[in-house]
């Protein structure tokens, strides 16, 4: 089966500019996640969608980050305006389930989008 697709793979922007990342999850996966991974750290959840609804966005800096999953399939993460500390890899992942109540929730990740803010 096709994996999780992400684009672009690399992006370099100046601070205060905007950037958008795109993710297409595995077909049939209801849940989609966006993680931020800063060099040397583990992935940090930014937002979790169940179909096209938001399940958890408690760690999303809403003053500058936004995400949408309009048709319950692919998703876009936007940063506007970008700050130096936003330099990171943005990982998209998908899974069939939402919570461990319905069985183990195994995530499949894309290759990530590496953002450098100068």
């Amino acid at each position: 089966e096709a994996g999780v697709a992400q684009s672009p793979r690399y992006k370099i922007i100046e601070k205060r500019q905007s950037v958008a990342f795109w993710c297409n999850p595995i077909s049939g996966h209801a849940t989609l996640y966006w993680y931020q991974q800063i060099l040397g750290q583990g992935p940090k959840l930014l937002i979790q969608f169940q179909n096209n609804g938001v399940v958890d966005d408690s760690q999303l800096p809403k003053d500058r980050f936004s995400a949408e999953r309009l048709k319950g399939v692919d998703s876009t993460l936007k940063i506007q305006p970008a700050k130096l500390e936003d330099s990171a890899v943005y990982l998209c992942a998908s899974s069939m389930g939402q919570t461990s109540l319905s069985g183990a929730n195994v995530l499949t990740f894309g290759a990530g989008s590496r953002l450098t803010v100068l």
Binding site: V4, Y33, Y35, G40, Q41, G42, P43, K44, L45, Q48, V55, D56, L91, A93, Q98, T99, S100, L101, A104, N105, V106, L107, T108, F109, G110, A111, G112
Partner: protein
């Protein structure tokens, strides 16, 4: 708040030896604990999971133990090979303060020396 700790220092071991990685957590009630492998420039890849009521799980050269009393999981790679060199992440799939959360540890970088 919930916390997951993995050994942040890199682990260097000789080929053929057993690598043991540790994952400790607090303020969390995981239904499952999962281990992922991440290679440079790639997303994490799922390896193995263990349920809260299981003590040990094996898959080929991999073994995971889970102690909910100690709030700790150990991840073992036996007969390690240079190809096992990567960063290994543990992830908790469960609840904290009544809210469902799926969170990752910081990862441990393993280097297997030939």
């Amino acid at each position: 708040s919930q916390k997951i700790e993995q050994n942040s220092e890199a682990l260097n071991i000789q080929e053929g030896k057993t690598a043991t990685l540790t994952c400790n957590y607090t303020n969390y009630s995981p239904a499952y604990l999962q281990w992922y492998r991440q290679d440079p420039g790639r997303g994490p890849v799922f390896l193995l999971l263990i349920r809260e009521n299981e003590k040990e799980k094996r898959k080929e050269r991999l073994k995971v133990t889970f102690d909910t009393t100690l709030k700790q999981s150990l991840f073992h790679i036996t007969a390690s090979q240079p190809a096992d060199s990567a960063t290994y992440l543990c992830a908790l799939d469960g609840t904290t303060s009544g809210t469902y959360k799926y969170i990752f540890g910081t990862g441990t970088r393993l280097k297997v020396l030939a």
